[in-house]
Structures are given as structure tokens and as C-alpha cells.
Amino acid sequence: MKLIKKTIPLAIVFTVGVLTLLSYYVPHKVAVDFVETVSKWENIVMAFAFMLGLISLFRTHYGKITRQVPGWGYSIFVFIGFLAMVVPAIVTKGRTMEAGSITALGWSYRHIYNALAGTMFAVLAFYIVSTAYRSFRIKSAQAFVLFVAAFILILGKVPLGQLIWDKVLGWTGYTVSQVIGWIMAVPAVAGKRGIMIGIAIGAVVTSFKIIFGIEKQYLGRD
């Protein structure tokens, strides 16, 4: 039992991992084809995984409706939203445009999906302001640096801010765009690069632990 429950899964990780790893160093067509096949396979497995999610979602909300838990009425809208996208998609075979005008799916996409996604994305504008108000308080030298960098970037990105800079700090001989350019190309690069290199090395080590089965907590106990 241990063989099929644990050993084989670990063998799969090892084999797929090592072969994928090697394919980076082997230019031959065999390796290229291998990576192509495996990534196609991954695509297919992910398509099944998506169904897993969809079924989970339906089960949850179907359960809420049948058990009539408080707020079950809202769960009906999950199914309405789903059908509002899928029914037109079946009719139009997944095309949003046909002969220069939008199809039923295009209509659903634009007025339901896109309106909702765009709005949620736009809500970020509100949150970015309230976060800024709350957290850009100069309580330490480090917070001061954070504040100054953010302040200059917010100021210098709009024409009015550039005018203000020229009025107040024009005597320095540097425009705010030059200062922004310097911040983004020098100190910010150092900070970002440090994070990136750290991440890279951490990712390599973690991948290594997974391929060699050193980290296998994700398999569960039995």
C-alpha cells in the first residue's frame, strides 16, 4: 500500500522534475519535444483541475440552496451568472465577435464580466488612497525614506505635480522626471534586485527539496 500511496507519487515528482530540468541543458529535438508534450499535458491536467473547482463551487452553492442556510438566495445568482456566460458561449461557439459586430457572448462579456472585473480592479484606486493615508506616517527614519520615495513618484507623475516641483525646487536644476528616473534606475533597482536574487535562490532550493522528495508534507500521512 505504501508503494502505490507514497512511493509512486514521489517517483512521479522525481522523474518529471529531473527530465524537465535536464531539458534545459539539452538542445536536442528530443528534449524540445519532451517539454512541449509535458506542457501540453499540464494544460490538460489543469483543464480537469478546473472542473474540480467548478464542481466544488456548484456543490457548495447547491448545498446552500437545498439546506436553505441564511442567505441561500444569493447562491442562486452564482448559477444565473454561470449560465449567462455559458449559454451564449454554446450558441456562438465561443466567439465574441462575428462579422464586425459583437455576438451574444460578446454582449455578456462586455456588460457582465468586463463591467464587474473592471470595477473590482478600479476599487483598488480607493484602497490605495486609504492605505496611503494610514501608512505613510513618518514614525522612523525608514518610514521617512518610504514616504519620500512615494511622495516624489506620486507628485512627479502628473503635470500639475511637475509644475509644483518647478516652482518649489526648480532652483536645484533637476526636473522631477529626472529625479524619478534616478530613483527607478538606481536605488530602487538595488532593492528590487536583492529581492529577486533571494527569490531565485529560494526557488531553486525549494524545487530541489521537492524533486528529491525531502519535502513531502503535501502528500499527507498515509
Binding site: G100, N114, S130, Y133, R137, F147, F151, V158, P159
Partner: protein
């Protein structure tokens, strides 16, 4: 005194939300025309390059943005099309982002009427193509190898707008408006190799990354974000969404600055009280 001030720290976020709504919505209804600083050189370079083209030249536009970057890039694309029509240039449009087809339609259904331009005679919109690298490579020798029909399925070979246009050598200029990396492909695969002038329009976030291309002249000019769109509208003498947009951004950014300054001033005062 101290307590009242400290209350400001815990001010209900919803007041801030309301202020921001006002700051961004008022310019939408009525552009304020807040002072826009002198026009950036990169914007002017795009304008001058297009303005210098003789009437009847073929301008290729690659409009590759979807609704998520529409606020910044749509005004640019609209202003560019207006400029081209005003100068009586022939316009071809290609796209490699599937979400942009509806937006392109929006531009031409409006702007072509303003200038009495006819689809197929003065402009052509090609259908969406998924693989940008393959398409750009193919167009180097013969663009009809991939584009046989326009977006409505009409045969392009007989269209007057494409008379004498076969590959990059026949095009006067390429302008790519995008929120993706597609502009890099245009520069590397087309501009550098076939001596076609390439200019572009990008979002404000990615704008600093194109500095090197501008320096080396691989890009003839660049419109950056809402500001670039507004500047182009000023050059064109037709204020539009870019101009009202930059008003909104001016007010929005200033609001943030005022807020964080206020909160720090209160912090200082509280400390010394």
C-alpha cells in the same frame, strides 16, 4: 485639542472615498483644463513624424490593448487615427490582443464619420492574429501571406487602401499602442531590420522601461500614459478623453499628497502638544 486631532487618524475611510470620487468624477463631467506642463519631447516627436508624412502614405497601426488599459491607451489610439485622417493618410490596423477588437471598432465607427472616411478605401482593419512573432516575420516579405481578408471577411487584395502595399518597404511608419510587450517585437523584428520608423504608445507604468529605445532612436517617439494622450490631443488641437483624464489624475494624485501630508502634520503637532 490633542484628542480632536487624533480623531483624524481614525477618520472614517469613507470620507476619503468620497473625496476621491469627487476628484475623479468632476473632470469626467466637465474637463477643468488644469495647466498641462509643456509637451514632452517624445510626444512631439511622434506628432512631427506623422505630420511630416505626405498625404496618401500608408500608416500601420498595431493596436494591442484590452479594456484593462483602455483609459490610458484608447485616447492615444483615437488621437492617432484622427491625426492620420486629418493628414489624409491611408491607415491599416492590425492587432495581436484578442480583447482589442471591440475597442478598435469603437474608434473607427466614430472617427471615420468625423472625416468622411470609407472602410476599404481610406482604412482597413485586419482581423486579430494570435501569434505576433509569426505574423510580423511573415509581413516582411508579403503581408497577404497571412492577411487575406479584413475583419469582416472581405477580400483585401482588391481594396484601394492597400494599393501598392505589399510589405514593410511600402509602409511609411508603424505606430504600436500597447499595454503588453508587443512593442518590443515591433522594434526588434521590424524597426531594426527593415528601416521602418516605429513609434509607440504605452501605459505610464511601463513608460520608463522604453528610455533606452528612445535614446538609440529605435523608437521614433513615445506617448506615455494619460499624459502622453493629453499632450497629443493638445498638439492636434482636439481635446478629448486624454485631456479630461489628465485633469482627473492631477486632482487624484494631488489629493493623495494632501492626505498624506495632512496626516504627517497632525502627527507632528500631536507630538509637540
Amino acid at each position: 485639542m490633542k484628542e480632536t486631532l487624533q480623531k483624524f487618524f481614525k477618520i472614517d475611510r469613507r470620507w476619503i472615498f468620497l473625496l476621491l470620487t469627487l476628484a475623479l468624477f468632476i473632470p469626467v463631467m466637465k474637463p477643468l483644463g488644469l495647466p498641462n506642463k509643456s509637451i514632452a519631447q517624445e510626444t512631439e516627436r511622434v506628432y512631427k513624424a506623422i505630420d511630416a508624412l505626405p498625404p496618401g502614405s500608408f500608416l500601420m497601426l498595431s493596436l494591442d490593448y484590452d479594456p484593462s488599459t483602455k483609459p490610458e491607451l484608447h485616447p492615444m489610439a483615437t488621437a492617432l487615427v484622427r491625426h492620420a485622417f486629418k493628414k489624409n493618410l491611408r491607415v491599416g490596423v492590425v492587432t495581436y490582443v484578442s480583447g482589442s477588437t471591440g475597442l478598435i471598432e469603437e474608434i473607427f465607427s466614430k472617427v471615420s464619420k468625423e472625416y468622411n472616411k470609407v472602410d476599404g478605401v481610406d482604412y482597413v482593419v485586419f482581423p486579430y492574429m494570435p501569434n505576433v512573432v509569426a505574423a510580423l516575420t511573415q509581413m516582411a516579405s508579403n503581408m497577404y501571406g497571412i492577411y487575406t481578408v479584413d475583419r469582416n471577411g472581405r477580400d483585401v487584395s482588391t481594396m484601394p487602401v492597400l494599393n501598392g502595399i505589399k510589405n514593410y518597404k511600402n509602409m511609411a511608419m508603424v505606430v504600436c499602442v500597447t499595454g503588453t510587450g508587443i512593442m518590443d517585437s515591433w522594434v526588434a523584428l521590424v524597426g531594426d531590420k527593415f528601416n521602418v520608423p516605429v513609434a509607440g504608445g504605452v501605459t505610464a507604468i511601463s513608460q520608463p522601461g522604453y528610455g533606452p529605445y528612445l535614446q538609440t532612436g529605435q523608437l521614433k517617439g513615445l506617448l506615455g500614459g494619460m499624459k502622453g494622450a493629453a499632450e497629443y490631443e493638445v498638439l492636434l488641437g482636439q481635446p478629448g478623453k486624454g485631456t479630461s483624464g489628465i485633469d482627473a489624475l492631477n486632482l487624484g494624485n494631488l489629493l493623495v499628497l494632501v492626505l498624506i501630508l495632512t496626516s504627517n502634520i497632525i502627527l507632528l503637532v500631536v507630538k509637540f502638544l
